[in-house]
């Protein structure tokens, strides 16, 4: 039972990270109709900015600021310099351009920061574990990650539903020509959403940096899972991204924890291990396929 709670917390933490990445991606996709493959690169830029800020100042808070700024500004730069010119083009152009940007970003980061993966330690106030239940100590850093995800979810909900910018974002997602016709500078709104998406990636980057390796190409690894999340949740919907992220996080974690063990009950050990590993790798895609069969637009699509 304790083990199950721990694995569920692991799922929650993974979901939290996926939500930080997916919420920005889903807004960009939903509002601008742009398939932004560079999204993972923003996450990497955030992690690198944070690591080098922390290495030079020693303060985790400065690291957070650097990650938000670095990734946010880079996202704005990408939007203004490249993506802006492709809104009216076919998806293929966007995919090609943003794929090229991934390669560009990877090389640029390795030229600026070097190939050696930088080290970022867990900040002292988040080190160690705390007892949540008798017999269950959970690392503080991961709890902080879950809390961050929850705060961002609340913040985004308030932003989207209770502010003027949020109103414009929702309006833009529904009918961008109409918003434009009403005299709103849609270009600026797009740039803003891109920057917001980038900053959220940066936040994911700085929170993940002490737990994961900061390396070139770390963004591409999470990108596909992030797309799975927004497809499951429904493109363009932040609520969908939240539900999708939690679902994918849970299925992945609990699948990894229990599928091999369940198979071992019925199959010989070696076959169970191999089959289990395969099933585990496929679990989130199976989930996506089931969701798409039942609800082709995702669980909570943005209203059209």
């Amino acid at each position: 039972m304790i083990l199950f709670v721990e694995q569920a917390l692991n799922g929650l933490q993974y979901g939290s990270m996926l939500f930080l990445l997916a919420s920005g991606l889903t807004l960009i996709f939903g509002i601008m109709g742009v398939i932004n493959l560079t999204h993972g690169a923003f996450y990497m830029v955030g992690a690198y900015s944070a690591a080098f800020a922390v290495l030079s100042t020693g303060s985790f808070l400065v690291g957070i600021a650097a990650a938000l700024l670095g990734a946010g500004l880079y996202a704005v730069l990408v939007e203004v310099a490249v993506v802006q010119w492709l809104y009216r083009r076919d998806h293929l152009y966007q995919v090609l351009a943003t794929l090229g940007l991934i390669l560009f970003t990877n090389e640029a980061v390795s030229m600026i920061f070097g190939r050696r993966p930088p080290l970022m330690d867990i900040p002292p106030f988040l080190q160690g574990s705390i007892p949540l239940l008798p017999g269950l100590d959970y690392p503080l850093m991961r709890i902080a990650f879950i809390v961050t995800g929850a705060l961002v979810a609340i913040g985004l909900w308030a932003l989207v539903n209770h502010t003027r910018v949020g109103m414009l974002i929702r309006a833009g997602a529904d009918d961008r020509e109409m918003v434009d016709a009403l005299g709103i500078d849609i270009r600026r709104l797009y740039t803003l959403v891109f920057g917001l998406g980038g900053a959220l990636c940066g936040l994911a980057g700085v929170m993940a940096a002490p737990l994961l390796a900061i390396e070139i190409g770390m963004g591409e690894r999470v990108l596909i899972t992030t797309f799975v999340v927004i497809v499951i949740g429904g493109v363009g919907s932040v609520r969908g991204a939240l539900v999708g992220a939690l679902l994918v996080g849970m299925v992945d974690s609990l699948g990894r924890a229990y599928i091999p063990q369940l198979l071992q009950l019925s199959l010989p050990a070696s076959a169970a291990d191999t089959l289990g590993a395969g099933l585990v790798s496929a679990s989130i895609y199976v989930l996506m396929a089931i969701v798409l069969l039942v609800r082709p637009n995702g669980l909570l699509p943005a209203r059209r």
Partner: protein, 398 residues
């Protein structure tokens, strides 16, 4: 129709190669005394694993003096494979066509598998400076194929012996679910005498191991053996320490799961990890000390094991080039000189087994934090002496 086009193409190809033959031979003849020997050097210089290729190139070039290897002028034709077997194959074919006969540099087993057959079919030589996959070590061994690093399985077998020596009875194994991962665990199981509590396969691109770590804690083994190369290895070690497991359950790894670069990114989490290894920058032999000093002086960083292997390979090639005075046309002599391995290896003892894979000493090492805060890899004890590999008996050379 298609058949006649096919035969026509074959005739053209045949004519072309027939025409190229005398040219290649004359090129070989010229290579005799003064013309430099070109060494095809295909390695991984881009992608996240590019630092390995950089270290390999740096280590190899360090062995050159005034562009000469064993007193013979050499010319390195360096190509980046970007970790893609197809790229490497193309580069190799191009070099083979331009008459290159001697190849080395490849860094990954899957890339090696794409390069080696073509090189050997063209009558060239391949000397591996890192991977030693089982596929070329047994029945498919070849008289022109040498591995100067290690046979892949032997590393994991040495780890199994280390676990025996450390007195572990119950061990949990973790590796990514792909060929090298499964081979690693098979190698370990071949020599480990205790009980395997569980074999946990992770996803190849996995970055977070919290789920597996929770399972390890619940299984409570005496130790774990894990093989996760590159970024995944850094993640694993960091999260293992963060979950508080580092203190209660010791971790044993093959050395390439924690090279000098990775230690830098892992920090204190590397403290206390056991590794099965061939060499450490801390080794005290004069050859090793001289190498580490020269490398630090030339590149202002500590060499990884990849650099050391490349350096040893370069010196091995140098010893053979010297024996034939740079004339690769003297095939039997060149092969014989390579097989004799008359060079001073940085790692210590080195000789070739019957399948032209190394017979050498494996060590149990431990990552320890110095009072200065630096994490270094120190030798605990020699774990296997003059250790070959499990495939040598299947190889029918000579």
């Amino acid at each position: 129709m298609s058949r006649s086009a096919f035969t026509r193409r074959m005739i053209v190809a045949g004519l072309a190669s027939a025409a190229a033959l005398p040219m290649a031979q004359s090129a070989l003849a010229q290579a005799g005394a003064s013309a430099p020997v070109t060494i095809g050097f295909i390695t991984t210089l881009s992608t996240p694993a590019g630092y390995i290729g950089e270290d390999i190139r740096a280590g190899f070039q360090l062995a050159l003096t005034d562009g000469k290897l064993g007193g013979v002028p050499v010319n390195l034709a360096i190509e980046d494979d970007a970790l893609k077997p197809a790229n490497a194959k193309q580069a190799a074919d191009r070099l083979i066509q331009s008459g290159v006969k001697l190849f080395t540099g490849v860094n990954f087993s899957n890339v090696l598998a794409a390069v080696v057959p073509g090189v050997l079919e063209s009558g060239g030589y391949y000397v591996s400076l890192n991977p030693g996959p089982s596929s070329f070590a047994g029945e498919r061994c070849h008289r022109n194929y040498f591995v100067a690093s290690y046979q892949n399985d032997a590393f994991h077998e040495a780890a199994g012996l280390s676990a025996n020596r450390l007195g572990y009875k119950r061990v949990a194994l973790l590796a990514p679910n792909y060929q090298a991962g499964r081979d690693a665990l098979e190698g370990f199981k071949r020599t480990f005498k205790g009980e395997i509590v569980s074999e946990i396969y992770t996803k190849l691109d996995q970055t977070d191991f919290s789920v597996e770590l929770a399972r390890v804690r619940s299984l409570a083994p005496e130790a774990i053996y894990q093989f996760h190369p590159g970024g995944a290895g850094i993640n694993f070690a960091k999260q293992y320490a963060n979950a508080g497991l580092g203190k209660s359950i010791p971790m044993l790894i093959p050395a390439f799961s924690m090279d000098a670069h990775m230690v830098g990114a892992t920090g204190d989490a590397a403290d206390g990890i056991y590794a099965s290894a061939l060499w450490t920058p801390e080794a005290t032999s004069p050859a090793s000390k001289a190498f580490v000093e020269a490398f630090r002086k030339a590149y202002s960083r500590t060499p990884t094991m990849y650099a050391q292997q490349a350096y040893d390979t370069a010196n091995l090639i140098g010893s053979a080039l010297k024996a034939v005075n740079g004339d690769l046309g003297k095939q039997d002599e060149f092969r014989k000189a390579l097989r004799a391995a008359q060079f001073t290896a940085v790692r210590g003892k080195f000789s070739f087994g019957p399948n032209q894979h190394p017979v050498q000493d494996y060590y149990l090492m431990k990552f320890e934090k110095r009072p200065s805060g630096e994490i270094v890899q120190t030798i605990v004890r020699k774990i296997a002496e003059d250790y070959g590999d499990a495939y040598a008996a299947q190889c029918k050379l000579n």
